[in-house]
Subunit: 253 residues, 2 copies
């Protein structure tokens, strides 16, 4: 605490000592995993000092360099940042404090691709985040909120027998939702989410926080299974982060 | 400030003096209008003291009574609250700090009715708020995010000629979106929003913040025109508040 927050501020009042902060934002890895991957690289360094902060679906690595000039500080931060980039690669999604929806939006705009979303448990949150970005109409034109089984069948063409056989919260339904959303919207990329936000609706085999996310592109469909922590809104937030991150990684390829 | 926040806290340390706060939450009226309607009623009272706080699409009237017992304070607050209820009527949507989506949800659950939403500028925010309430699957099963003209036609059946003739941000398109959403979802109530969230896309005749909201029920369709203040996210928030409030008022009838 003292080294991270107080010392750099005090340093500003000393003659000739300044500080600079650099932030690397990471998605798709839990805090413990980020820490484990990079601790041997930053742990022995006194300058810059490193702090790791986690929120739902996002980890911030904050480097704070002190030195005689702003430029010297920036160079000190950059030396460590360069090593961290080698270790973490694509897991770093922004060094400019951009939210995932902004990064995904920039990648979509640059590639000329369009995205759509089929949302069950998030209830519109992913589309809402995508359209929080000004200019999102260039790459987003429609999406589907399909809360009930009937809506998933009616709006996305999910076969009704799947609900009987494997249940709405399943790899198969996520797969079918993404495929249907992509076909019906004619978007290049479709992301579909189905899961249990809680507090009710969970079971031993399908607990609260269980979420399947499917991504459909012209390359095919991939589905990932997640178990997110927390209460209803946190599960929704985690899901939106993971969904946007899957879209981001697909757009990077 | 002192009277509202500091005095009541100090009072707790005096012997035999306690305080009680009561909050009335109002929607559908701007702060200035709430103030104008009730100032002659609360203005001359020293106990309870009254504060009016506004946020996007919502006004809080906060009564703070001081007295010898909690019960005496509650009675003092209730005397004024009773007068305010007579003046403001249905504009008061909660006295228990419930968000609009919770109030709308309770009304839907009690009436056995279902709601759907067709969202342009809000991009999923209204559905997201509705589904933030646990148990919302009882009255919400699907909704539509239709950002482009093509999506409004394709998913909701809005006639393409309307876009040419009156533009996407118009009473006619809002009307058609709500009608289409209600028919296609088979919901009892459909709310549709179309408008200009900004920062770009505005013009002299259709400035940023211009929003049309339509409500379709078995009684017919009503459309209201709004001019909301603020930047993109605030316009989205105002729109979601006004849309949920229109649904609430329809459910009260």
């Amino acid at each position: 605490m003292f080294r991270e927050h107080v010392a750099p501020r005090l340093a500003r009042f000393s003659s000739g000592v300044v500080y600079e902060v650099k932030k690397l934002w990471v998605a798709g890895l839990p805090e413990s995993s980020v820490e484990q991957k990079i601790v041997s690289t930053y742990g022995s360094l006194k300058n810059p000092s490193t702090t790791i902060l986690a929120s739902a679906g996002q980890v911030e690595i904050r480097l704070t360099a002190t030195g005689e000039t702003t430029e010297a500080c920036a160079a000190t931060n950059e030396r460590l940042a360069s090593s961290l980039r080698e270790i973490l690669g694509d897991a770093i999604f922004s060094e400019k404090e951009e939210e995932l929806e902004e990064v995904v939006g920039s990648l979509l705009a640059a590639s000329g691709k369009r995205i759509t979303v089929a949302e069950s448990l998030t209830g519109g949150l992913i589309a809402e985040r995508i359209t929080d970005v000004s200019g999102s109409s260039r790459y987003f034109d429609q999406s589907f909120v399909t809360y009930s089984n009937e809506a998933k069948s009616h709006l996305l063409g999910v076969p009704a027998e799947l609900f009987e056989r494997v249940g709405a919260v399943s790899e198969e339904v996520a797969h079918s939702m993404a495929t249907g959303a992509r076909e019906r919207s004619e978007a290049d990329i479709a992301v579909a989410v189905t899961g249990i936000a809680g507090p009710s609706g969970g079971s031993d085999s399908k607990p609260v926080g269980l979420v399947y996310i499917a991504l459909a592109t012209d390359e095919g469909v991939q589905v990932e299974r997640f178990q997110f922590p927390g209460a209803r809104r946190q599960v929704k937030r985690w899901t939106s982060q993971a969904a946007l991150n899957m879209a981001r990684l697909a757009l990077l390829q």
